[in-house]
Symmetry: C3
Subunit: 161 residues, 3 copies
């Protein structure tokens, strides 16, 4: 639709140090992203890079745990993968009028309570990409464990033009 806006978003991501990855692999009974009416949903995205997790385990402070700083980077990667899923489905990130909702799940050591700081990695990437239109509602929660032992999982709901 608005190719220039798509280009602007990709450039804003590049300015923030991020490159939109290749679209996620096709799945069997579910799909990475889907439009219904003026909303689009993504599936929960893991921080996969070339199909692999760079870190696995629980987030927290202490030996054997993924540090909050690393987890924050992984959360940004989840958001980037969500944008890749939307870009593939929509054809053009410029069709996104507003990031409406983000849910961030952090696989957490029970003593770790800074899930918000971890999910800020995802929120800030979206703000970098879309400016004021990237400011969203969100929930951050600490869960027991995530698929493939991922430290973070992020899903998005966006409103479309």
């Amino acid at each position: 639709m608005n190719t220039n806006r798509h280009g602007d978003i990709v450039q804003a991501l590049a300015d923030a140090g991020f490159t939109l990855p290749a679209p996620p692999a096709p799945l069997a009974a579910y799909t990475p992203a889907l439009q219904t009416g003026q909303l689009a949903f993504t599936s929960g995205q893991l921080p996969l890079v070339d199909g692999k997790l760079e870190a696995t385990g629980k987030v927290g402070d202490g030996p054997g745990l993924i540090s909050p700083d690393t987890a924050r980077e992984q959360a940004a990667r989840c958001a980037l993968n969500a944008l890749a899923a939307l870009a593939t489905m929509l054809g053009d990130l410029g069709r996104i009028a507003r990031v409406a909702k983000l849910t961030g799940f952090v696989a957490s050591d029970p003593a770790f309570t800074s899930q918000s700081a971890v999910i800020d990695g995802a929120s800030e990437l979206l703000k970098a990409a879309f400016g004021a239109d990237g400011v969203h509602t969100r929930s951050a929660v600490g869960v027991a464990v995530l698929p493939k032992d991922s430290p973070v999982e992020v899903e998005l709901t966006v409103a479309l033009h």
Copy 2:
């Protein structure tokens, strides 16, 4: 609306070995399903059969845990109960244009990381019922514990004709 389509969906479920259960019991301050605009939401559904859970506890590999295969069957039951809630509210499953979003919570042993395979039970039931229209976005997460010690809980968002 389209009674034949409802019948087709019920038949597709039967072909997959599932029978739409009786509607869930009425609740106090919340409701099993609700329509707003062209969307309908379900409450998180437990895999109740005649009001009872067939298995309780955490999912994982090892003694005292619910096996992934059993959990997968329980996830399918959650999805079936969500369809029963929608059928009761809508009157006709043929009104569902698309299954938009599924969130699946798996009560997980902290070492269990195959939540996706468990929730596939729910996703595959929806695909069996609705074909391409049953292919949805989804998040699968591993949580500490679920109501009534249920191994799985599934909620749906669907788009309506």
Copy 3:
């Protein structure tokens, strides 16, 4: 829009013993509430009172745990804070046509399985405020840990007039 309806809702909350709090503090990369089309979303709300948690830790039965009764009161506070976020964003709670969806996360001791009773605190506050329009779909799940070691977190999706 309908100022009287807003007043009725505030009065209904007062009759149930609740006062709408001051709006939550502005945030950086996300926002407490947001409208898109005929839907509004809130961020996950903690049971903050004047910016502080009255109780922290995991919910359960036993020493060192937050009791289910206290957690239920905290869940009501989460819902109240969600209404405050919506009131600030919408200007008028009378614009809410229906509470569509509530997700309630309970930071749970692994042996605690009464998440539903905890989240009833939030559901009942919404029913007290909006009557039949406050009856919603919901999911209640038990998670490992929540931001700031909060016992409960609640998010809302509402449909607008």
